[in-house]
Amino acid sequence: MGVYLPMGPQHPLHPEATLVKLRVEGEHVVDADVDASFVHRGIEKALEHKTYTQGLYLAERICGICNVAHTTCYTTNVESLAGIEAPYRALYLRLAVEELARIHSHLLWLGLFAHTMGFETLFMLAFRDREPVLDLMEEITGGRVTTGYNVIGGVRRDVDPGLVFKIKGVLTQLKERILKYKELFESDPVIQARTRGVGYLSKNEAGELLAVGPVARASAIARDVRIDDPYLTHEEVPFNVIVYDTCDAWGRAMVRLDEILESINMVQYTLDHLPSGEVRVKVPPFFRPPPGEMSSRVEAPRGSLLHYVKSDGSDRPVRYRVRTPTLANLASVVTMLRSRNGKIVHIADVPVIFSSIDPCICCTARVTIFDERGHVLEKPLNELLDMRRGR
């Protein structure tokens, strides 16, 4: 039935090695599947050979764009395993940098999303506006993208008032730009035509397929780890969970744009309310946490991210497990790509749909086996969470 049309693993749709397998009849997609296992990097295995201090830098490199989310998750995880308390100020700074990383990740996504619609100008502008954020990251953390900011026991550097002033200035300017983009998404007829009703994922489906992050939130499910399971100082920093009920690519775009605004407010609030004190406690480089298991969840820009660690009392983990948000969303994207319930998916919609989940394959392909429906993962996930709450 239909003609086989591969998109990937080498395709301008996506810079990473992904294969979207389509069955098409004319311009219509009748069936679709996604194959993401082209870059298996063996990171989980490699983590078992690194000490906890060294492993942080490997965990950071699981994903370039959400490296802050990965280090936050790793440090929270290992710190609670070893019973290390990061200073209060460090938690605030982690939060600020995490939100900054969310801003630049969403801006990157905006550019790529625009590119998949063929909107070259928006692509260029989004990348232009992302640049100052990256410069800020460099100034705060010492690295433009791979920040290396979070360390076990706190953060690397403090911010000084001059830098705080500069961050606020840049963010205020950025806010204006984001409002422009929101206006653009709300008014531009071509964008509306290309994204409204495209990639439909109803609330039920999103719940059933365990969609996470902006994909779930655009399908009217208020699922956000920052609220459900706060891991830094999220209880003290006011923010809204953005929820749209349009269930389509447009909604996902709006969720992300609104989240940028929300993140800007969060960063500004955190910087205004920074507690005083140390930013780092000294941790011996070869520390040995007690035997046991631990897991932690973080709301990465693409959705909820899970790290799990098992220790036998040595200075290296026995098992380290990472579940990335894109993996959780692959089941949803396969569903969206199939024409169903009278909603026809065109070939031209495929790039839009696929990039609307903000796929990040390099952090997903480490996983070799997954259950497409997501049912299997559900129970262990809850058990892991209980375990974390129990401590």
Binding site: T51, Q54, Y57, T121, E138, E139, G142, G143, E183
Partner: protein, 109 residues
């Protein structure tokens, strides 16, 4: 329409592109860059090569005892070694990177 106005505005704006080889991009004051090594300060404690996550530091011997050799082409600029060295023998710089013609020049003793 929003983009059209934006495009016209951009037409009169200064370019956002940095013409790289001609215009240098200054790294910020806090940038984590290339390392340099002060051999006379080192006491050979061995912390740096044990802690390096990228195996970029190898153990070496000379008449004074064990000393590190830095293979900077492997370095990921995490700067744990800089932080951990008790004698501050390893120094960080703001230099952006290891773009060299000859790889052996990245082997620092």
């Amino acid at each position: 329409m929003v983009t059209s106005f934006e495009a016209i505005k951009n037409f009169f704006r200064k370019r956002a592109t940095i013409l790289y080889p001609e215009e240098k991009i200054e790294p910020s004051a806090t940038f984590r860059g290339m390392l340099s090594f002060e051999r006379s300060l080192c006491i050979g404690c061995g912390l740096c090569w044990r802690v390096c996550p990228a195996s970029a530091i190898k153990q070496d011997r000379d008449d004074k005892g064990a000393r590190p050799v830095f293979l900077l082409d492997r370095c990921i600029f995490c700067h744990i070694c800089v932080e951990i060295c008790p004698k501050k023998a390893i120094k960080a710089s703001r230099d952006r990177g290891s773009l060299v013609m000859d790889k052996s020049s990245l082997r620092v003793k």
